[in-house]
């Protein structure tokens, strides 16, 4: 599939057109002073921050809450307490300006979620227009995790920002279908060579292959976990912001005769996460919970699926209230 180009001044028009067929979302400055995902609105000026917005795009694939089932909760109803699947007639969504780390997170989450019909339906229904990175933030480390600032994994379209234009590379068939309009033009020689130069930048080492070779219990019993966990306050911020933290809880809610079974994000940082009805708790100690999170990302997940369950977006580094740095933990693990 051949790349095309679009003038920067025309991108808003293009997104405006796409709003006919999609719910379009893009990063936008919030009143709180940070960028986050919001519905795209024509005429407000497109904002494209360096680095990733505050929250990840997992919310579009794994919303909170996801309604798994509805049921009627009145005894007089013959259909009472019978679970019914919700109608999934939602409009298609399109995410504009997704960074390579976030786009890749969807591919990684898809691995455990392979048998999950809700996630897979949303994945089918959501297009990702990626924006490749020319610069990285101080918290970025995608290169360590098997990703790349110019990685196109998980995207339908990949945009590279140039002086006055974007080079637009279709990555999937459905991405190709997004750029049939006459707004797009053939790219100039110079635009192509500029992008190829950026693509050719070298990536770092992939931590997954090194970690897969390490002995599980040697990593588990390493002394540094004690130090890492000491400062952790188990707030769960890292797990909620993390694009590849995908654990969930399922709960039933009823109100005025109507009920629903929902699932929503849960965090392995919370003591209740593993507590048995008997009160026994297999990960009752903080060190066990902290260790489980990192071990899951860097050992359990790659042992099962191949890549590490981290895309190096740096959100946890940016927002951890006690400055736990996942890169330091990863270095410690690589050093075992």
């Amino acid at each position: 599939m051949k790349p095309l180009a679009i003038e920067k001044t025309l991108v808003e028009d293009w997104l405006g057109d796409l709003c006919d067929d999609f719910d379009v979302f893009s990063p936008s400055m919030t009143k709180k002073g940070f960028y986050d995902w919001a519905p795209f609105q024509s005429g407000t000026g497109l904002q494209v921050p360096t680095g990733v917005p505050k929250s990840s795009i997992k919310t579009f694939f794994f919303p909170q809450p996801e309604v798994l089932f509805h049921f009627k909760a009145s005894v007089s109803d013959p259909d009472a307490y019978r679970l019914k699947e919700p109608d999934c007639q939602e409009r298609k969504a399109l995410l504009f300006g997704v960074r390579p780390c976030d786009a890749r997170s969807v591919v990684l989450n898809s691995m455990p979620y392979e048998p999950d019909p809700y996630f897979q339906a949303r994945r089918k229904n959501t297009l990702i227009v990626g924006l490749l990175c020319k610069e990285s933030c101080s918290t970025c480390f995608c290169k360590w995790t098997g990703g790349s600032p110019t990685g196109r994994e998980g995207m339908d379209l990949a945009l590279m920002e140039l002086e006055d234009s974007y080079l637009v590379e279709p990555v999937s068939e459905r991405g190709q279908a997004l750029i049939s309009s006459t707004i797009f033009r053939k790219p100039k020689e110079q635009e192509i060579s500029l992008v190829q130069e950026l693509y050719a930048r070298k990536n770092g080492e992939d931590a997954a292959s090194t970690l897969r070779g390490k002995e599980l219990m040697a990593l588990y019993e390493a002394p540094f976990w004690n130090q890492v966990s000491q400062s952790c306050i188990n707030c769960g911020t890292c797990t909620f912001l993390c694009p590849t933290c995908y654990c969930f809880d399922i709960q039933d809610e009823t109100l005025r005769g109507k009920g629903r079974r929902i699932r929503y994000w849960d965090s392995c940082m919370f003591p209740l996460f593993t507590q048995h009805a008997s009160g026994h708790n297999p990960r009752g100690d903080k060190i066990k919970r902290v260790r489980n999170r990192f071990m899951h990302k860097f050992k359990y997940f790659p042992d099962r699926f191949g890549p590490v369950s981290c895309v190096g977006c740096g959100r946890c580094v940016r927002d951890c209230p006690v400055n736990i740095d996942i890169r330091q933990v990863l270095s410690n693990m690589l050093g075992v």
């Binding site: 798994l68 089932f69 049921f71 909760a73 009472a80 307490y81 019978r82 679970l83 699947e85 455990p112 979620y113 048998p115 999950d116 019909p117 599980l216 219990m217 588990y220 995908y246 654990c247 969930f248 809880d249 399922i250 709960q251 039933d252 009823t254 009920g259 079974r261 699932r263 849960d266 392995c268 996460f273 593993t274 507590q275 048995h276 009805a277 008997s278 297999p282 990960r283 066990k288 489980n292 071990m295 899951h296 050992k299 359990y300 042992d303 099962r304």
Partner: protein
């Protein structure tokens, strides 16, 4: 294993409680006989002893419960449930005829048709962990020629806390079965064995020759049952354990039940002791 793959793995089969039996003197354990509503689904249901299912009560939630009935008992499923949390308490308040949901069968189960075939079997259980071992024992008795000597060691705190009391009596009268039922301390009217399960296991001294042991019980019982077995030559790879952890999805996604790299719900709940020894102690 497993019935036809359903499109939505979170959707339980609609079912009805057909019978409720109070098992123990404290009333905290009840066995629910459950029938899937749909005739086709009922016919298509297949499970392996040791597997579990999610019992679903709309409005309350779901809980993982071992299937206490053998696959050879057709038409219904048995679940012996200890009253402990929100859902089990709600279940204990339900009556015959009430609707519930069953999602499963889930997990791996005991390898009754593969590794355990042709072996001498030693079943060791404590308290209410006997449920899936009852399913296993019944399955083996239905296919008696496939197994060698079968020894059962089962203990509870008091005679009144033993599960499946009538069946225990019937099993004790069989001559193709070596049954040792014990209670923790002397009790009026009890003329059977007295002593903890590990002590009885030490007296029975089951031979490890061409044998497998299936052990379910509180962790402390399992811990103290191992030394007397090891003393007579049992190896970790001959011992099968069934783990339990908090679960939500039951299909290896939600992250609640993992013990290190394995999901109890999907990779287990049955593991050999050798496999368990390689895992972090997070169960």
């Amino acid at each position: 294993m497993g019935s036809e793959v359903k499109m939505n793995p979170y959707l339980p089969y609609p079912a009805v409680i057909e019978d409720i039996k109070v098992e123990t003197e404290d009333g905290n354990l009840k066995t629910f006989r459950v029938v899937l509503e749909d005739k086709e689904e009922r016919r298509a249901w297949r499970h392996v002893p040791g597997q579990f299912a999610m019992l679903s009560i709309a409005g309350k939630g779901e809980i993982p419960i071992g299937i206490a009935s053998s696959p050879t008992e057709k038409g219904h499923l048995l679940f012996t449930v200890n009253r402990a949390g929100v859902v089990t308490t709600a279940l204990h308040k339900m009556s015959v005829g009430d609707p519930i949901g069953v999602r499963g069968p889930l997990g791996n189960g005991f390898p009754v048709d593969t590794e355990l075939k042709g072996k001498n079997i030693v079943i060791i259980a404590g308290g209410f962990a006997f449920t899936t071992l009852r399913a296993t024992l019944l399955y083996m008795l239905e296919n008696r020629a496939d197994y060698g000597k079968i020894t059962v060691i089962y203990g509870a705190r008091t005679p009144g806390m033993l599960l499946y009391k009538e069946e225990l009596k019937a099993w004790q009268n069989r001559d193709d079965l070596d049954v040792h039922i014990t209670v923790d301390r002397e009790a009026p009217g009890w003329d059977g064995l007295v002593g903890f399960v590990p002590t009885i296991a030490g007296q029975v001294k089951p031979s490890p020759e061409n044998a497998a042991a299936l052990i379910c019980g509180p962790p402390i019982m399992i811990k103290f049952t191992m030394p007397p077995l090891e003393e007579v030559g049992w190896k970790d790879e001959q011992v099968y354990l069934s783990l339990e952890n908090r679960m939500k999805c039951g299909i290896g996604i939600c992250g609640h039940c993992n013990v290190g790299p394995v999901y109890v719900c999907k990779d287990g709940p049955v593991f050999t002791r050798q496999e368990v020894q390689r895992l972090p102690v997070e169960f």
